[in-house]
Amino acid sequence: MTIIFISLYEKGVNYEKFDVFRILFIVMLSFSILIITSVSLQGAEIKGDPIDLLGFIYLVLYSITGSFLYISIDRDSFSKKELKNININKYYKIPRALIKMAIAFISGVILLILASMLIALLPFETDITQEAITFFNELQFIFVILGRWEIIYLIIFATILPYLLIFLARVNWKPTILTYSQWSSILGLIDPISTLIFSVLLVNEFFPHGYLIIVIVFLVITIILRYAHEVKNIVHAKILLKIKKGSLQLVPIKILKFYGVRKIESLIGRYDLMLHVKVNSFKDFHYLINRKLKPIDDIIEIKVQFVDKIEK
């Protein structure tokens, strides 16, 4: 659901193209969600524990807030000082990401506890107030839970290690066509596929094998369609700049902050700088040129060269 919400956001806010690939993968995802929902409802009926509509609404709200989280992570920009530090040592990105995640987690925990306290104090009874009261009643067992070997395993092998690998990949990523965040959003579909397979095989979740195969095929096709959509719509260009005398120290770091500018090289020759640009739409490209580059007084000349094909 998160992928569908992000796609709709990209269309609404960024005016990204709604081409046939995007329409098809949204349709495939929607069918997969319908099949999974209907199978879950069947399974719940068989177990004699029907699913509450309120639970499904909470799931949708969780997907919407998750979408905003992914969008803001993708749009996370570096300050000028951080860009200088990254160009001195690219591994600077790792402690930066760790600190940001730690701050976000701790802030979230504090907000969660405060919000739960307020909800627990509400004068009327709902399932949310019950959950908040249960949370505080069971909080005393938190250190017992954290001491269990399964939790330690989850912390190290299911959280710390994967995130370290993600950060290392981000730091060392050399995109030939697509950026790291594009690849991670495409391959993020492997998560629901593997969850389905492992839950059926290991936990014996109710899911008729016929439907399981259909959903997996749909999700695999969605990965391919998503890849095709990203590759088809990417705008790849080299922008050559001539800048005023005396501005070579400041202008590159200023421009490197702009969304879509992946790399800047300073040149000796007719032009002073070459920008390596990759954006998701011509609207983003237009915004970069007209709203970001042209207003910079230090830039005398801008020459755009669109990359048709990488031959070698």
Partner: protein, 79 residues
């Protein structure tokens, strides 16, 4: 030391020029472009004398390149 060479080509020669540029081992990247220039080639060499040798003995002699513009890369910044 790295340099980029921007080339303007004649008509109907792009495939031939691309193949000849790809055959030069010091040329690490070749891209076809839309704009004032038709091709971008990135070359990596040890010294400026080597750059001159490769340019004068190989690139300058490729039939089909009408205009070339070479820029030496001083420094790069990434994020």
């Amino acid at each position: 030391m790295r340099a980029i060479i921007l080339c303007k080509l004649g008509i109907n020669v792009i495939k031939k020029v691309i193949e000849e540029l790809k055959a030069i081992p010091e040329i690490k990247k070749v891209m076809s472009l839309t704009g004032d220039y038709d091709l971008l080639a990135e070359i990596e060499v040890e010294t400026s004398e080597q750059l001159f040798d490769i340019f004068s003995e190989k690139i300058d002699l490729i039939q089909g390149i009408n205009v070339s513009n070479t820029h030496v890369i001083m420094k790069s910044w990434e994020k």
